[in-house]
Structure formats: C-alpha cells, structure tokens
Amino acid sequence: MKHLGNPTKAIVAALALAALTGPALAQQGLDEPFQKPFKEALAGKTVAYVPVAMNFDLTEGWYAGLKKELEPFGVKFVIRDANWNTNAGAQAVTSLISEKPAVMVVHNPDVQTYAKLLQRAENEGIYVIQINMGSAYRSSAFVGANWVEIGERQTEGVVKACEGKSNKIAIIQGALSAAASAYTLKGVENVLAKHPEIKVVSSQAADWDAAKAKAITQTVLKQNPDLCGIVGFWDGMDIGTAAAVKEAGLTGKVFLATSGGGERKGACELVKSGAFDLNMSYDVPTQAAQMAGTIKFLLSSGAKPGSIKGSEYTTLIPITKENADSQTACWNLSDLKK
C-alpha cells in the first residue's frame, strides 16, 4: 500500500489542485437556477390597480411604492381610478376581468360590492390582492390594516388618558357605509366592554369630512367641557376634530386618538403640534412593499389563482410625541414618488 503515498501528501496535492482550479471556476460564474424563471414570470405581465380613489396619501403611496418595486422587472402597471364612485369601481373590475391582467390589486369601497366579481376574476385565472379594505370574498392575499385592532388600540389610549378624569369620551366615526369605519367601531366596542366606567357621550358619523367632524366636536365639547378623550377614525377628517378641540382651548386636556397612513404632513407634524395625541399609522410604504412582495411571490410560484389564500396584516406604528420627530415614524409622499 506504500505506492499510494502518504495521506498528508495526497491532501496537500488536492488542496493545490483546488487552489488552481477554484479561481478558474469563479471566473466562469455559477448560474443561480431560479432567477431566470422569476424574471420570466414577471416580465411583460400586467398588474392592475383599482383604488377607491387616487389623490390621497394612502392610494398615492401604494401606487408609487408598487410602481417602484414592479416596473424595473418589466411589469406593466395600469390604474383604474374609481374616484369615490362604487359603480365606476365595479365597472373597472368587470372590464379588467375580460382584459385579463395577471394580478389585480383591489381596494374595496365596502364588503359586498366587489365580492362576487373578485371571485370570478380568480376563477378566470387572475390573482386578486385586496388591500386595506377587504371584501366578503377571501382572495389570494389580503394586505392591510386590521381595523378592529386599530379601534382597540386607539380606545385603549383614550381610556388610559381618561384615568382619574371625567371618563366621558366621544367617537367620531367615518362614513357609515364604509367597512373600515364599522370594523374600527367594533374594536372600540371591544375595549369599552371591558371598561364600563367609560361613558360615550356622542358617537356620530362625520362622513370622513373635516368640517363635519369639527361641527360635531364643537357641539359635543360645549355640552361636555369635561370630555377627556375622543376616538377619531381617520386623520384626514380629524384635522377638523383637532381644530375644534384647539378652539375650545382644550388641547392637551382632551386626548385625541386617530389613525391614518402615516404621511408626514398628515400625521407626524400634527402629532408634534399637539393636534393629535396618538395616531395609529399603518405605514403605507411598508404596505406597498408587502403588496409588491406578494405579487412577486404569486407570479413566480405558478400557483393557481385562488388555490392559496393568506393574509398580511400590517404592523401598526403608534405615533406619539415620543417618536413624531424620528425619521422613520412617518414617510414623505414626495420621496416615495422619486
């Protein structure tokens, strides 16, 4: 067995060989087997986006984020703006079904209207991703805020601020037809059920309208100057609520909790100025990134639309005086559009 040489020599020889051939292999490169099918799965595909309306921070933010993530891969990104018109939205979804995009990203105005249409779309082979406002039909993916949780956490904040005070609170709801408003209200009720000492002196819908919110809040504050907290359902509307609190000279005395997409001007700056005490943000850029990630995953998975169904509820960011100054709590629409 001597002629085989000793094992040390053999190892040295093998290492020397490896040292010689190794760099040569690296120069040739190693093909990563999955990136090409991924690119092919995305290139030339159409993603259709149906928001309830453009021109507000949430939908503009999602649009900019999706575009940024998907267009570099050769995805064609089309938009059908329903412009607050449920019928127009349903028509857009219907016509999209015949146009057959690969993916539809749908922002529902309510729970029922699009439900049947979305089911049809998935049967026709279109992935449907529902965002922030789900419908009664569960599609491939839901990406968005958990409204019940938002209501719960806002109310918890208000209840805590009311400790040792009058325990009188007011609720400024959005539009009655909007599920986001109804779900948030459920969250509010969940917490209030645990706190029987809290008295709701007013619970009114302001229709997402700042002027109406202001009028309601003014009247409520005149009737109950010792109010200790307000649960508002959207920061765009609660600018009016905050203006009423400020005019009554009660800023800092009445705890105002609201929620929104976390755009800097609408959220952080208003928290900094003391208009809002708590703004539950569902961080739109992160939501957009999650939507884009889901689209990439679905397209590259080759799964049959409707065969897998999952949810990605957003991790909420509570914006208060403590973090309103930070760079990361809020986002700028102008940066996202760059």
Partner: protein, 323 residues
C-alpha cells in the same frame, strides 16, 4: 274678503321658533350662550354659500358649480403657499381664477343660452377635475407654515364672537347692500321676475347675468377660504359631498322661490338658522347619521312642496327646462 295667508318665510320662521322653543325646554345644554355661538359658527360657511346661491336663484338661475368654486381656488392658495409662493400672490391667482370661472359660467348662461343647471353642472366638474388632475397633489391640501396668521379668518373670536360668524355677517351686509341698494341688485330682481320684460325695458340683462355668476363664484371662494382657515386644511373632496344640496336647502327653505325674483338676505339667514338649529339639536341628541339624513330629506321635501304651493309657476314666463 281678503284671505289670511302666510308666506313661506313666515312659515319657516314659525317652524324655526317652534323647534328652538322645544329644544330649549327639553334639551338641556341647548339654550346657552356658548351653544348658540357654536350653532351659528357651525353653519356660518353654509350661510355664506346660501348668500351666493341666493343671488343666482333670485336671478332665476342656479349654480351647481358653487362647491367647486369653494374648493378649488382656496385649495390652490394652500397648495401654492405649500410650494413656496407668497400668500398675497397665491390669493391674487386664486381670485383671478375665480373671476375667470364666474365669467365662463356667466358667458355660457347669458350668451350661449345654456340652461344654468346644465352649464354649471358641467363647469363645476371641469373646475374640480382641473384641481384634481393638475393643481393639487393630494385631495386634502394641508396648511403650511407660510399660511400662519391666515387661520384667523376662520378660527378664534373677535369681541367674544367666533370669527366665522363675523364673516357670515359681513357677507350678509355686502350682499344685502348689493341687492337692495344698488341698481344692479334691482336689475337682478327684474331679470328673475320676468327676463323678457326686463330685456324689453332696456336692462342690460346679459351682462347682469354674467355679473351674478362672477359674484357668486367670488363669494363661494370666500366661503372656501373661511372653511379652510377653520379646519386648517382644504379637503377638496368636499366637491363630491352633498353640501350643494344643503345650500339649496337653505335657500329654498328660507323662502327664496326657485322661480326667481323673490326673497333676499333675510330669507337666507332664516333658512340657515333653521338648518343650524336642526343640526345642533340632532347632534346633542346623538341621532344617527342615517336618521339625520332622513329628517333633512323630509324637511327639504316639505319646503319644496310649500314653495310650489305658495310661489306657483309664472304661467306667462315659465319655460320648459326652467327649474
């Protein structure tokens, strides 16, 4: 024998007085000085819009585009200041835009003879669309530091009375002066009462109609500035809301007949007070949104029916397509 009849203004005033009395007795916290001021403050913008609408309705027209004039030029002011322009320059641009808009409305109605309902429906959409597509980045145009000081137009108090009530009062005085003290005001009534007779007597009816729409748009813009100042932002989506129906409600309820030539500032004030009392009372009672809409709808319906009974259509001058 002369029949004893109430006119609509008196009926509405009686309803307002009754409602006010009932709320005062049964609703604790209604009849306080503070609540009265809140009541007025909450309807001040609506009242200003009512004055604007009254001018064209008296001239036998209607301006559905009023909410666009309320939303877009003031929104433009906020947007321009946000983009770094000075406040006076932005205000100037907004006023010029408003005047141009009023001229387009007036020209369409007076010279192209498009019925006012259709003309303003279209121009309103046009202006709102222009705002959404070209002028604004977002639906809600936020206040920016360059606007500081301007919020006093809609917030705070002067001599203990909220500023927006003063603004309503000023608008009332200006419009009352225009309608009752100037020759133009008399012409507006004449045109509203009988446009053909007005033209035959030598009243320059077409320029006067243009003037009506320019003034209406300017008052609408003023109301928008007060609104923006009071909520520290301009929610331009208000164009899609039902505010225009509330404005028509105020005008018709107050007793300004849609057939033109009747009514004045006092009618707007009464209509505004009634709406204000209703809204305030319903908010204190915490009536649901749907319930409030139902009540408002019934009241408008009653007002329109009463209007057509008390101000029957003028058989001599009424035309198909008139409202």
């Amino acid at each position: 024998m002369k029949r004893f009849r109430f006119n609509q203004q008196e009926i509405v005033f009686a309803v307002f007085a009754l409602l006010f009395l009932v709320f005062s007795i049964f609703l604790s916290g209604f009849l306080t000085a503070d609540n009265m001021l809140t009541l007025l403050q909450n309807v001040a913008v609506l009242g200003i819009l009512g004055l604007a609408m009254a001018i064209v309705v008296i001239g036998r027209g209607i301006d559905i585009s009023l909410i666009a004039a309320l939303a877009v030029p003031p929104g433009l002011v906020l947007q321009m200041v946000q983009n770094g322009h000075s406040l006076p320059f932005s205000l100037l641009v907004a006023v010029l835009l408003t005047i141009a808009f009023g001229l387009v409305n007036g020209w369409l109605i007076a010279y192209a003879e498009v019925p006012s309902l259709f003309a303003t429906l279209a121009t309103g959409l046009l202006l709102a669309g222009l705002g959404q597509a070209v002028l604004f980045q977002l639906d809600v145009v936020q206040w920016s530091p360059g606007m500081n000081g301007f919020e006093r137009l809609g917030q705070g108090t002067i001599l203990g009375i909220p500023t927006s009530i003063w603004m309503f009062a000023i608008a009332c005085i200006v419009v009352a002066f225009l309608l009752r003290q100037t020759r133009w005001g008399a012409y507006i009534y004449a045109i509203g009462d009988n446009p053909y007779a007005a033209r035959v007597t030598g009243i320059p009816s077409r320029p006067i109609i243009v003037l009506q729409y320019v003034i209406t748009a300017l008052i609408g813009c003023f109301a928008g500035l007060v609104l923006a100042a009071s909520v520290n932002s301009m929610p331009t989506r208000i164009f899609n809301s039902t505010l225009i129906y509330d404005v028509i409600l105020v005008v018709v309820l107050g007793g300004i007949g849609l057939s033109g030539g009747r009514g004045g500032v006092l009618n707007v004030i009464i209509g505004t007070l009634l709406i204000g009392t209703m809204l305030n009372g319903m908010t204190i009672m915490d009536i649901s949104y749907a319930g409030q809409n139902l009540i408002k709808g019934v009241v408008l319906l009653l007002a329109v029916i009463t209007d057509s009974f008390l101000n029957p259509r003028n058989e001599e001058t009424a035309q198909q397509g008139d409202i």
